[in-house]
């Protein structure tokens, strides 16, 4: 009875240890999208009635983001601003001007040290499992790189320009992994989110 209890306890313990391995939700490429917004809290967005949109998107970076979606982006942003009750104008009567740009960034990750990712090691000779620490022997390391693209939407009030500078009153940054699928729908979803999380614009 006592041995059975010990065995049961040991098995219970092993099960709990197994279930206690580090969890990693492993966000996939479609979950990498980020939307960040920021605003000047002293600016009175409630007084804005007219806006203008610069009809060209500036593309920066060594590997510029595709121009294929420029028209979609400009149209979508203008629609969102119109949805605020603002009127789009094409002259200097605009209270605010919105311009957009894209950038791309390549990040390279190198690794060659012990990791925390415990796993199971299968020993073909002894047919047993045991804990192991993944490691990278001398002379062996891993590396990978990824490229992210960002769309930056900026809103300025040209009446506040001084010394050839104009303060940004609102900015939205949409960041995503380059090469991810469903670009068009994700651009629309990102722009929607930027305005949803900026209720102070109304």
């Amino acid at each position: 009875m006592y041995k059975k209890t010990l065995l049961f306890t040991a098995l219970l313990g092993m099960g709990m240890i197994l279930s206690s391995c580090f969890v990693d939700y492993g966000l996939d490429s479609e979950n990498y999208d980020l939307v960040a917004t920021s605003y000047n809290s002293s600016y009175n967005f409630g007084a804005v009635t007219k806006f203008a949109v610069v009809d060209t998107i500036v593309h920066y970076g060594e590997d510029p983001v595709s121009h294929d979606y420029d028209t979609q982006i400009i149209t979508k942003v203008a629609d969102e601003l119109t949805g605020l009750g603002w009127v789009r104008v094409y002259d200097s009567t605009a209270n605010v001007v919105v311009n957009m740009g894209t950038t791309s960034t390549t990040t390279v990750v190198y690794g060659s040290s012990y990791g925390w990712d415990y796993g199971w090691y299968y020993d073909r000779g002894a047919y047993y499992y045991s804990w192991y620490y993944p490691y990278y022997p001398t002379g062996y390391s891993y590396s990978y790189e990824y490229e992210t693209g960002s769309l930056v939407i900026r809103m300025v009030d040209l009446r506040l320009a001084a010394n050839e500078q104009v303060p940004v009153q609102w900015v939205a940054v949409l960041n995503a992994l380059m090469g991810s699928p469903n670009v068009s729908s994700r651009i629309n979803a990102g722009i929607d989110q930027a305005f949803t999380q900026s209720p102070y614009l109304k």
């Binding site: 209890t5 306890t9 219970l12 939307v35 960040a36 920021s38 989110q193």
Partner: protein, 202 residues
């Protein structure tokens, strides 16, 4: 990793040294964040374990040592707002907690063969806490060793001469150490753990 290598021999040594008049136990440990810990991960955790050993000084008092692993995880896409900036994206939030606690316990019982034994316990020691925050393609890590305390209430039910069923609840508080992941406030953690397991008499 070094921390694990120290804990295991220490526990084995302690349990061996306690071979007389000793109880050892193994429990399934559930965790519930509190305060800032709950702000980071609000979901309850049902993944964790606790191992402990206690040596009786007399019928009512024991000293002991415990360790374990509590894992608090959560995946969400909540917006995070800090002052005038809001960020939205899919997030993975992880807290792994490994305590090593020395304890003093008081058992409320009139004989060693009592079938129901409530106890109170004071734990003091260290918590190794690994916090990770994934959002988009970005990851933030924060690992620190904290001094901590844990008041505990529990019950043991005598199942046989050698075996007791254990249930207890513990409030764990790890004091400020290092910098907080968000860079503000103090880097302390608090969580409740509820344990269900088996205690063996020797």
């Amino acid at each position: 990793m070094k921390y694990i290598k120290i804990i295991i021999p220490l526990m084995l040594f302690a349990f061996t040294a306690f071979s007389q008049n000793t109880i050892t136990g193994f429990s399934w440990s559930m965790g519930f964040g509190s305060g800032k810990t709950a702000d980071f991960v609000s979901s309850p955790s049902f993944t964790g374990f606790s191992a402990e050993g206690h040596r009786f000084m007399n019928q009512n008092v024991s000293i002991g040592l415990s360790t374990g692993w509590n894992i608090l995880n959560e995946q969400n896409n909540e917006s995070i707002t800090v002052e005038n900036t809001t960020i939205t994206g899919e997030q993975g939030r992880y807290i792994n907690i490994i305590p090593v606690l020395f304890s003093a316990s008081y058992y409320i019982r009139s004989s060693r063969k009592a079938s129901f034994v409530p106890f109170i316990r004071a734990n003091v020691g260290t918590y190794y806490i690994m916090q990770r925050f994934d959002i988009g393609v970005y990851t933030l890590n924060n690992d620190h060793l904290h001094f901590g305390v844990a008041p505990e209430l529990g019950f043991m039910f005598r199942a046989s001469d050698k075996v007791n069923i254990l249930t207890n609840g513990k409030y764990n508080y790890a004091f400020d150490a290092g910098e907080r992941l968000s860079g503000d406030e103090t880097n302390d953690y608090a969580f409740f753990s509820v344990n269900l397991g088996v205690m063996l008499n020797y």
